[in-house]
């Protein structure tokens, strides 16, 4: 059986798990290509206009591989951690895809709860039985896939730059170099290193959010806030660059929270949407880096 894996949304975070799981079940994996103009165009034509760019791009990835496979992974990720949530669009993504794209092969629809192995296995079983009748094979594939995921080192931590910024944003905005116009590369070229939140341990982030008046509702909010709070305390960063998809509801809350609580820290908000012209992006990044280096040197000229 050919299993299609669209390179969008949380693919960048969970690719070791999903690839291993399906491979162990004897499937041939068909990954969509890296995001490109064609995928972006397909996605924005197929998807409803109100959705954010990453959701549109995901549609493009599905469209690109739907004719080449018998099953497509559409991960309905409900929760990553207990008592926390992620974007509601993830809960409804199979329905969005079904209603927007015609002539689909089978798609995976079972919900994914990542915080407990038992709950997560329910997804593995529901999905695995499409490929095999052998329960133990599914169990084994699930275990191997989880091990592969554990080995996966996430995050960026550049070394050897005079300036360093926290690059904040959802996984699919940070690691998709097409939709973010390779922002890491742009920063590196200007002599600025990048560090992302995955580098700092989750337990540390939990400690940092204790000062908030309540536990954040969103997983992403806890991760980003906790990371920034820690990175500033340890003087790991000179500023914050936040990559946000236009119209992202979660970002609208996190951005304000960060701006309010870390008032005097240089902060650059980069909005990404369908535009591919880089001039606006470059201007903001250059000006921000200018500001950081002048701040550090302590004079304007």
């Amino acid at each position: 059986m050919k299993v299609g894996i669209p390179k969008g949304l949380l693919y960048y975070k969970y690719k070791p798990f999903f690839n291993t799981f399906f491979e162990e079940l004897g499937a041939e994996i068909i990954e969509s290509p890296d995001t490109n103009k064609d995928i972006l165009d397909l996605g924005s034509t197929l998807c409803t206009d109100e959705a954010c760019l990453p959701i549109k791009v995901f549609h493009g990835h599905v469209e690109k591989i739907k004719d080449k496979c018998d099953l497509i992974l559409i991960p309905r990720i409900m929760q990553i951690y207990k008592r926390e949530f992620i974007c509601p669009k993830f809960c409804g993504i199979p329905e969005m895809i079904e209603n927007n794209i015609e002539d689909l092969p089978i798609i995976t629809k079972a919900p994914i709860y990542l915080f407990s192995s038992d709950k997560f296995f329910k997804w593995a079983y529901e999905t695995g039985k499409i490929l095999t009748k052998n329960f133990f094979k599914i169990q084994k594939a699930f275990e191997r896939a989880q091990n592969e995921q554990k080995k996966f080192k996430e995050g960026i931590n550049d070394k050897g730059y005079a300036l360093k910024v926290a690059l904040i944003g959802h996984t699919y905005n940070i690691y998709d170099t097409f939709i973010n116009m390779n922002v890491k590369n742009k920063l590196n070229k200007l002599g600025v290193g990048v560090i992302t939140h995955e580098v700092v341990d989750d337990n540390v982030k939990y400690l940092e959010i204790k000062k908030l008046f309540k536990r954040p509702f969103w997983t992403f909010a806890r991760e980003y806030y906790g990371f920034i709070s820690y990175a500033l305390k340890e003087s790991l960063i000179d500023g914050i660059v936040y990559l946000s998809s236009f119209a992202c509801g979660i970002d609208s809350v996190i951005v304000e929270l960060i701006k309010l609580d870390f008032e005097n820290v240089p902060f650059l908000l980069l909005k990404i949407d369908e535009h591919t012209g880089e001039a606006g992006f470059d201007t903001r990044i250059e000006a921000f880096v200018d500001m950081l280096s002048r701040r550090k040197r302590g004079n304007l000229a």
């Binding site: 290509p33 890296d34 490109n36 103009k37 064609d38 995928i39 097409f178 116009m181 390779n182 236009f246 701006k259 240089p266 902060f267 908000l269 909005k271 949407d273 591919t276 880089e278 001039a279 606006g280 470059d282 201007t283 903001r284 250059e286 000006a287 921000f288 200018d290 500001m291 002048r294 701040r295 302590g298 004079n299 304007l300 000229a301």
Partner: protein, 316 residues
């Protein structure tokens, strides 16, 4: 001895010549009209007779077209608009704390402390209140844009106009016109709406401290200046060369360089026949739109490819 600053913006291309004391000797304001090369050449034609190539000790470019401009004329420094605007304002008054800049397609706020940029923001995806929008409204009301501000100042009872978005503002204006409100009251109302939009949008969360400079093309509009002063409750200073500040900043940055050699290609650039074309690169799935600049059938430069496959190997 002079320094040249060129600001290629979306709406206008500004060229200034400053002396070593940063006095503006010559300033040229041109409409870009989507053809930055033509605009620069037009400007250079006017400068050709007045200055010798050897008079120019340094060249700086800025604006969204700064890279193409730098390439064309041989710039010594290429700077983003934010830094350039701040440098120009600080050269006039080192106590400036806030710069409101509204140009053709974007608006920005820059906050400074002790002569250093501490924060800045630009409009994200909304162009309400920028020069292009005001231009369009002036045209629709059949009032020359230069007189727009004077009309606003005549108003006694400004009408409330929705300022959240350019489309809403326009339809609201039309409805108020249909009801028969005086045109000056509508224009003043529009200025107030745009100031509201700017303060809630671009300047959101930024503390605006005096002295406040208002620069960029829209600063010509006295109605906007007045509306800012009323909303902020403080004086707003419009510098003499408000619409040239980017170019002035670029020229100053060129003058501040330690290096004394210049890459300036000379005013003859005005007489060269450039042609531009574009194509879609099929090298990878990104399908970048690449712009090509040709001089007498010979390719001299490429822009727009993400990987540098073309722009990395410029012939000149």
């Amino acid at each position: 001895m002079y320094y040249l600053g060129v600001d290629v913006g979306s709406v206008s291309t500004d060229i200034v010549v400053i002396d070593e004391n940063y006095n503006v000797i010559e300033s040229i304001y041109l409409r870009t009209k989507g053809r930055p090369i033509k605009a620069i050449q037009e400007g250079f034609k006017r400068l050709e007779g007045k200055f010798k190539n050897s008079d120019i000790l340094g060249v700086g470019t800025t604006g969204s077209g700064r890279h193409i401009a730098a390439f064309l004329i041989g710039a010594d420094i290429v700077k983003n608009e934010i830094t350039s605007h701040a440098v120009a304002a600080l050269s006039l008054d080192k106590d400036v704390r806030t710069i409101i800049e509204i140009g053709g397609q974007d608006s920005k706020i820059i906050t400074l402390e002790n002569g250093m940029i501490t924060d800045f923001a630009m409009n994200t995806v909304c162009a309400a209140g920028t020069g292009s929008f005001l231009d369009r409204q002036a045209e629709r009301l059949e009032i020359p844009i230069e007189e727009f501000g004077d009309y606003a100042l005549k108003s006694k009872n400004p009408v409330r106009i929705a300022g959240r978005c350019a489309v809403f503002a326009e339809s609201d204006m039309i409805h108020k016109q249909q009801l028969g409100f005086a045109v000056e009251d509508i224009i003043k109302g529009l200025c107030e709406a745009l100031v509201r939009n700017y303060l809630n949008n671009v300047a959101k969360g930024k503390e605006i401290k005096s002295k406040v400079f208002f620069q960029g093309g829209v600063a010509a509009n006295k109605g906007m200046k007045k509306a800012f002063e009323e909303a902020l409750g403080m004086e707003v200073i419009v510098p003499k060369h408000y619409n040239m500040m980017g170019a002035i900043g670029a020229a100053i940055l060129a003058a501040e360089r330690k290096e004394k050699r210049t890459n300036f290609k000379g005013f003859e650039v005005a007489d060269i026949n450039y042609a531009t074309a574009s194509f879609e690169c099929k090298g990878c799935s990104n399908l970048c739109e690449v712009a090509v600049i040709k001089c007498e059938e010979k390719v001299i430069g490429y822009f727009g490819d993400r990987c540098g496959r073309y722009s990395g190997k410029v012939a000149v």
